[in-house]
């Protein structure tokens, strides 16, 4: 049985930290810590906009193709039209987002996560 401060005002009464390493209240303390807050903020600041961007970009492609096919028929050069370029650009944007996330996470997320993880696991004598 542990006692802890509910984080978001949710009046949870019992916590049963049986599974996993460490007590549940320990995790709540970590979650409230400044380092973890930084990880969460950084994660959200990349992943949120990136997800919004690729989903909007993809559905723009689908919706234009379905409801404004005339635009897709506009020729870029010869038989290559806007629609075909748009389709290939979907691939390019997917590769670009994947590569930039991988690089970004390695530099901006991993060092912080490692530091916090070592501190947590070290503190418990794992």
């Amino acid at each position: 049985m542990t006692i802890f401060q509910p984080l978001r005002g949710s009046a949870s009464s019992t916590a049963a930290p049986q599974a996993g390493r460490g007590s549940a209240s320990g995790y709540e303390a970590v979650r409230a810590s400044r380092d973890f807050w930084t990880i969460r903020r950084r994660f959200g600041s990349f992943v949120g906009p990136a997800c919004t961007l690729f989903i909007v970009w993809y559905f723009l492609f689908v919706i234009i193709a379905v409801f404004a096919p005339g635009f897709m028929r506009v020729s870029v050069f010869g038989d290559v039209n806007v629609g075909l370029c748009f389709g290939v650009l979907q691939f390019a944007s997917t590769f670009a987002i994947a590569a930039s996330y991988r690089r970004w996470a390695r530099h901006r997320l991993d060092p912080l996560a490692d530091r916090l993880r070592h501190r947590l696991e070290g503190g418990r004598g794992q």
Binding site: S12, G22, C51, A65, V80, G87, A99, Y101
Partner: protein, 549 residues
């Protein structure tokens, strides 16, 4: 008939040399069987059987994941759709690559950090409820079975084209052989053997696709505009194939159908259980991220090649000939290979197609067997108290049962357009799995009731809408020139739901039900569990590591 090669006996036409095709395929089978047996020596712990000992590198698992993802339905179906519908086939294929970003950005690392073997592990860490584990296992099994059915149905159709087996009994026998081989891989090789089968298969698939693409481009003078020009010139629809509208732009229903399919594809990838289970075969979340990035490169490269192959088939084979061939639109790639490289290339592509079916069904079978043994048997029936050896034994038995069900299903589902069934599996994955995964990872208030409502809501609405859709009854849509309904008798029609894909209704409904079930739950969320979930998800504390790290 279009050309001098077309004859009146197209339906019984045999291209290539069945003996050669069979030999190439047999080499693949022998090589992969040797690998499965040789990696199987140490395969008794649950981690070995379910997760290959967590020793694969990001690159290895990335290749294996693309092997799991690129099914025969994709390899044959997508270029086929492009060869017949042109641009609308591209529209269909883009969703398959874009959906991977969701896996990379939101799912792969938290998922690897908080689970052990299955999707239900992740939900269990957050909610600790056997009912949720059972629900997650049920939806996992349903997605696997739908996907398996698609693969096995494809196997039967392919046989007539590729091996010259035209008798119904002969086709059924080949489906049964595929089933027996797959059971062997899974029983003997476990996840390690299955992963190596995927790696071998993905490599020959990539090699075959890239070589054929380059070959084709050389015929067009390495000029894409020239290829498109030739393709449009030989299509019965002319330059209209290069812009949208042939398949999906017919009326409002078909437009909505495309949006529904797009939604299912982009959100479904992150809910496919056999893709998610792959994340556990690497030592840590960082390797999981690396492996998903590799998968994006491989899958993307493959789909870019399918554009060229699809338009190439339109140009060199012609849509009329493809549609009248035994496999319908699925025969575009084999016919193109025959046109380009004669019997040898045809044989190689036929063998690649079979290897693809075999590897994908093995991956699905091990996922289904892991979910049943780990979640249903050990987690629910034994309340988490089962001996690991016992659990693995149950997993092996389940693998055999799933294999038999797949063979029976594959034999009875012969003749359905395979690409469609994959779309349906994606819809269930997106509606039943994804909402609860995302909510439990990122929403502090999410409760057990919300999870149950969203999983069952997504599952039931997808399945019910599929049953009352044109895919099941009524005349269906003439894809590949024939009825795509499961019930081919046009007099039986209970297709009250007009769309072929239930995603546009089922996915928002499942997200809504997850929210509604949570906010109306009198039992509040356990904030301590959420804190543990989120700290573990983002830092990797307490995650099970692999042999190398």
């Amino acid at each position: 008939m279009t050309g001098p090669t077309a004859t009146s006996t197209l339906a019984t036409e045999v291209i290539g040399t069945p003996a050669l095709n069979f030999t190439i395929f047999a080499i693949f089978v022998v090589v992969t069987l040797v690998i499965a047996v040789s990696v199987a020596r140490k395969n008794n712990s649950a981690t070995d059987y379910y997760a290959g000992g967590r020793t694969f590198t990001g690159l290895q698992n990335g290749v294996a994941t693309s092997g799991d993802y690129l099914s025969a339905a994709t390899f044959l179906g997508t270029p086929g759709l492009i060869a017949i519908y042109g641009f609308d086939g591209i529209l269909y294929s883009v969703g398959f690559i874009v959906g991977w970003l969701l896996v990379l950005l939101l799912v792969c690392e938290p998922f690897r950090n908080t689970g052990r073997y299955t999707m239900a592990d992740v939900l269990d860490l957050r909610l600790k409820a056997p009912s949720v584990r059972a629900a997650a296992a049920l939806s996992t099994l349903m997605v696997c079975l739908f996907y398996l059915l698609a693969q096995m149905a494809g196997a039967g159709v392919l046989v007539s084209l590729l091996l010259g087996v035209n008798s119904s009994v002969g086709q059924d026998a080949v489906v049964a052989v595929v089933g027996i081989l797959m059971i062997f891989y899974v029983l003997v090789g476990g996840m390690k053997g299955t992963t190596w089968v995927q790696i071998v298969k993905a490599t020959i698939l990539a090699a075959g696709t890239v070589v054929t693409t380059i070959w084709l481009l050389s015929r067009a003078g390495f000029s894409l505009p020239a290829l498109l020009h030739h393709a449009a010139a030989s299509s019965r629809s002319g330059t209209a194939v290069l812009s949208p509208g042939l398949e999906y732009g017919v009326n409002t229903v078909s437009k909505l159908d495309l949006i529904s399919l797009a939604l299912a594809l982009v959100l479904g990838t992150a809910g496919l259980p056999h893709v998610l289970m792959r994340l556990y075969t690497v030592p840590n979340a960082r390797e999981a991220r690396r492996s998903v990035t590799w998968t994006i490169w491989f899958v993307g490269l493959f789909y870019l090649c399918t554009f060229v192959l699809g338009f190439g088939a339109m140009w060199l084979v012609g849509d009329k000939r493809i549609l009248s061939a035994p496999g319908g639109s699925n025969s575009a790639v084999p016919l193109l290979a025959d046109k380009l490289g004669g019997t040898l290339l045809f044989g190689i592509m036929a063998a690649v197609a079979f290897a693809t079916i075999l590897a994908v069904v093995a991956g699905l079978t091990i996922t289904a067997s892991a979910s049943f043994a780990h979640d249903v048997y050990a987690g629910v029936l034994r309340h988490g108290e089962a001996e690991p050896a016992d659990e693995v034994r149950v997993a092996r038995i389940t693998g055999v049962v799933v294999g038999i069900v797949a063979v029976i299903g594959g034999i009875s589902a012969k003749g359905i357009n395979v690409a469609f069934l994959v779309g349906l599996a994606f819809a269930i994955a997106a509606a039943a799995n994804l909402p609860s995964i995302l909510y439990s990872l990122f929403w502090p208030r999410f409760t057990t009731r919300g999870a149950l409502w969203s999983i069952y809501g997504g599952l039931v609405s997808s399945v019910v809408l599929i049953i009352f859709s044109p895919v099941f009854s009524g005349q269906g849509k003439p894809l590949g020139g024939t009825s795509s309904s499961l019930i081919t008798d046009p007099r039986i029609n209970f297709a009250f739901f007009p769309l072929n894909n239930p995603g546009i209704v089922a996915i928002p409904l499942a997200f809504f039900l997850g929210w509604l079930g949570t906010v109306t739950d009198r039992q509040p969320a356990d904030s301590a569990r959420f804190a543990r979930m989120q700290v573990r998800a983002l830092t990797g504390v307490g995650a099970e590591r692999g042999g190398r790290s």
